[in-house]
Symmetry: C2
């Protein structure tokens, strides 16, 4: 009894209750890009949408998300996490009552264009998509930014080894602002999240950079104060 998400419009006019929708993010150059697929039931043939489908019978929503992502990307993402449920009146391609948004992070190098039915678009300049899909993309961006300083998701957008300049570039991309090199490295070393390899990469001109790998260490429990409203003061324990 699975309910199919994408239309074919005949038969019952029942709205599907559920859809699972994926925002796959990957850096392309200096831009963050999201994966869109061609709408199947296109009226105009240049119509794009987020990969989505209804969960099948006895399939968890996490499993459904993994399946949809595998179908769209042709590979496993480095991370796949739920954002939220979207159940307002904004239009969805399948007209689902509730859409469950997921964000997938895809590493550089694993982000080649997967066929003719899918393409990466800069999140700043998406083509016209359904209002609910636009809301889900915005939710994905917020979720990624919010988790950025709570868990090391930036590494999911990079290959196994990377230079610190690459890592800083990812942070700048996600935060939308420049960071100071010395401060970035000081905090990074204090966090024990990376360890150097003995390889160096000469990337075009300039001094070669050492390659690092993500290798979180046990961290000393440095309990810090409380913050009011994002960035304000802090209250000591």
């Amino acid at each position: 009894m699975p309910e199919r998400a994408s239309s074919s419009g005949r038969a019952t006019s029942r709205r599907p209750a559920l859809s699972v929708d994926i925002v796959s993010l990957t850096p392309h150059g200096r831009r963050l890009t999201a994966l869109l697929v061609r709408a199947g039931d296109a009226r105009s043939k240049e119509r794009w949408e987020l990969p989505h489908d209804a969960p099948r019978a006895d399939e968890t929503i996490d499993d459904a998300a993994a399946r949809v992502e595998r179908a769209a990307l042709g590979a496993q993402p480095a991370m796949l996490e739920q954002i939220a449920a979207f159940g307002d009146r904004r239009r969805h391609p399948s007209d689902a009552v509730v859409s469950i948004g997921y964000v997938a992070l895809v590493a550089t190098g694993a982000n080649t264009s997967p066929g003719d039915d899918a393409a990466w678009f800069s999140v700043e300049e998406l083509p016209p998509i359904a209002p609910r899909h636009r809301a889900i993309v915005e939710g994905a961006m917020h979720a990624v930014r919010a988790r950025l300083d709570q868990s090391p998701i930036a590494f999911r957008l990079l290959p196994a080894t990377f230079t610190l300049s690459q890592l800083q570039e990812i942070y700048e991309l996600l935060l939308g602002r420049r960071l100071h090199k010395a401060s970035f490295r000081r905090a990074l070393h204090a966090s024990w999240l990376v360890e150097p390899t003995d390889e160096w990469r000469s990337e075009g001109r300039g001094r070669p950079a050492q390659l690092f790998r993500y290798a979180p260490r046990k961290r000393r429990g440095s309990r810090r104060g409380v913050r009011f409203e994002g960035v304000s003061g802090s209250l000591g324990g």
Copy 2:
């Protein structure tokens, strides 16, 4: 065509696709408590669950959450926000495929016991409830803690005017650890979230405390560094 959440078991054996489930939180003394209602279709008569229902036709999930909360609490909460969708195989009272969890914050004073069918339980010692409901409660606690330093949700658990000791107590309750008085107040003043009233409250013994009200001011844009993994270092702009 609304699908009813709570059983009455006859007719079709179709699982409802959706439910909306509310975790209402309020402080009671030094404990954080959650609102549970008696299970309608109780086999054993002492069976509790989170207030929940399926969204009605053409009702948004936010509207459904407000309706369910109004029915259970008998009043409007100070805040009602979605947590996440729960669609794994854990058991839910209505057997819904997907449950959308909401957290409601109720102020002290508005948290009187609403009738015989509902009661407040310490979140540390809940009675046995369905596994998915336990997961939703845990999700609510995580969400509240995560938002605590991003938005001023602690004030939603207090009446319109309060002492700074009360406010600090709420923070300690939510964080699960003690805070230093001087640091707490220093950061609070720096954040411009409260303003003093000209009232004082003499609460039992000891010096009377000045009453404050929540009154967020425009904050200077103090852009700060980036943090790795919760509390570690920080990288400067």
